[in-house]
Every structure is written in structure tokens, then in C-alpha cells.
């Protein structure tokens, strides 16, 4: 279940980027996922649900930047890509 480790990394990257840009909420996270990345999309979605439920709080302002309402969009491509493409924030 390495998807869990990947999603921890994703939440960390996303929350830091959102804070750096003064955002208070992350509405959508978009990932690019290659068919040879060794990552199963369904397991990734399950891991995302687990991770955002255990680290929902931004330590600086105590508001949930990422939570159950945050959407995870997957761009499925060929190759080994495993990249955070963009965020929709406000």
C-alpha cells in the first residue's frame, strides 16, 4: 500500500504550495498518473480519503485546507509519470 506514502507526500506538497500562495482552501488536486507508475488509481483514491482525514489541519491557521470536500482528479497517461499538476484554491 505505497499509495498511502504517496498521498502523504501529495498532501504535504499541496498544503505547502497553498500556504505559500496565501490560499485558505484547496478545492481540487490534479495528478498525472502513468500506466507504468506502479500506482493503482483506485488504491490512490482510497489512500487520499485516509490521508486527508488524518491530516486536515493547517498548523498555522487551524483551518482545514484539505478535507473530504477536496476533489482528486487523475489525468491517466502512458508512461511512468507521477506528478502533481495543479491545485484549485481560494
Amino acid at each position: 500500500m505505497h499509495e498511502l506514502a504517496l498521498m502523504e507526500e501529495l498532501c504535504d506538497l499541496a498544503v505547502r504550495a497553498a500556504l505559500d500562495h496565501g490560499a485558505e482552501r484547496i478545492h481540487r488536486v490534479q495528478l498525472r498518473l502513468g500506466d507504468r507508475s506502479g500506482v493503482d488509481p483506485r488504491a490512490l483514491r482510497q489512500a487520499f480519503a485516509v490521508v486527508h482525514s488524518v491530516i486536515p489541519w493547517d498548523p498555522l491557521c487551524s483551518k482545514p485546507l484539505l478535507d473530504a470536500r477536496t476533489q482528486l482528479n487523475l489525468q491517466l497517461v502512458s508512461g511512468t509519470a507521477l506528478e502533481l499538476v495543479d491545485l484549485e484554491v481560494s
Binding site: M1, H2, A5, L6, E9, L10, D12, L13, A17, A18, H21, A23, R25, H27, L31, R36, S37, G38, V39, T80, L82, E83, L84, V85, D86, L87, E88, V89, S90
Partner: protein
Amino acid sequence: MCGTCGCDLTPSPSPSPSPRRLSLERPLLSRNDAQASRNRHHFEAHRLQVVNLLSGPGAGKTALLEQLAQHWPRGPVGVIVGDLATDNDARRLQHAGARAAQILTGDRCHLDADLVDQALRTLDLDGLGLLVIENVGNLVCPAAFDLGEARRVVVLSVTEGEDKPLKYPALFSRADAVLINKIDLCEAVGFDRHQALSHLQVVAPQAQVLELSARTGEGLESWITWLGDQANTAPDG
């Protein structure tokens, strides 16, 4: 102040700003990749050839490394061995003459570059020319994690069946070499060698395929020769 309890009134929420897009285009494993890059520089500074050895559980990685430790002609072999629990493998390898450090991963199903960095601190690299990182036995999870190695070697044993490369292409497609182990059991388990080779040709055409047996020593020489040849080429070559 509110009239009931004297607390500060909660300010009315400001209207939410409209959503905007932040373009990031960052590898999800950028933190692991950065540590892997530091590991790689560290290995190059020590002129250390490093191999990431991967397979499913029970394919014979440790038995192959015991043989390698006993027959490698260029001095001691270092091994970093990852398992969920027990240091049995490290003790087996030390008994065979390797300098071995065990990483216990707990519930983690793969090694990452940071765990390798920590294990390196416990290993005496002086005089080592070859370091093998024996990954956690798993054909899925370790594939995505660069550890800083120069070469990836995947072990497929004949008891697992010839279709493993097709079932787990992510791991095999990034291999520099595939070792078909337990080749002495080929007939006994009805392993279709030609079919396995043709599956590997589809999924991992770049990989050097070597057939061997850790138990009998058959084909071991070809692996040692291959490793020696890799040491003579640039790490990224």
C-alpha cells in the same frame, strides 16, 4: 462583546474569494528523488557500485546474495537489506561474509531513499566496491522509489510462473537485468522458459536476462561477470 457571556463576537465571514488555479507540475516523489540524488552523489564519491535488487517474496534474493558475497572477486560486498520484521537476512548475509545492515520497515511495503541514507550511516563503506540494496519482497510498491542506485536488478524465480513480467510490468520495465532464479527446478515445476523469455522481451526488452540457481551455483558466474561489466561503465551509462 456579546450580551450573553461577554465573549468576543465571531466576526462575520468575509465573502470567499473565487477559486484560482495554481500550476505546480511537481513530481510527487520530489522529496524522495532529492534524497536519492544525494545518495547517488555519496555513492559516486566513494566509487561504490550500487544495485537495487527487487523481487516478490521468496524468489531467492538473499540466497543469491549469500552466493555473491562468497564469490565476488573484488573484495567485500555490502548489503542493505529491507524487511518488514526480523534481522534474519542480515545475519545470514553476515555469516556469508557480507557487510550487512538491516532496515526494519514495520508496515512499510518498500524502501525509500531516506531509509537507505539512514542505513548507510551504520555501514562501514571503507574498501567496499559493491553495495546491493535488497529491497522488501514485493513486485509492486518498490517500483516507484529511486534509492540512488546505478542499476536495478529484478529476480524472477521459476516457481512463480512465467507470466509475472506481464502481471507486474512497472517493476520489470525499469530493470537493467532480470535474473531467472531456481532454474534447476525448471522441469520439476513445469516452467515454460521460452514463454518467460518472450514475456520479458515484451515488457523489459532493455534488460539483460540471466538464468541461474542460487542453490546449485549454476549461472552464477554470468551474474558476477555482468556486475563486473557494469562497474566498468559510468553509473548513468
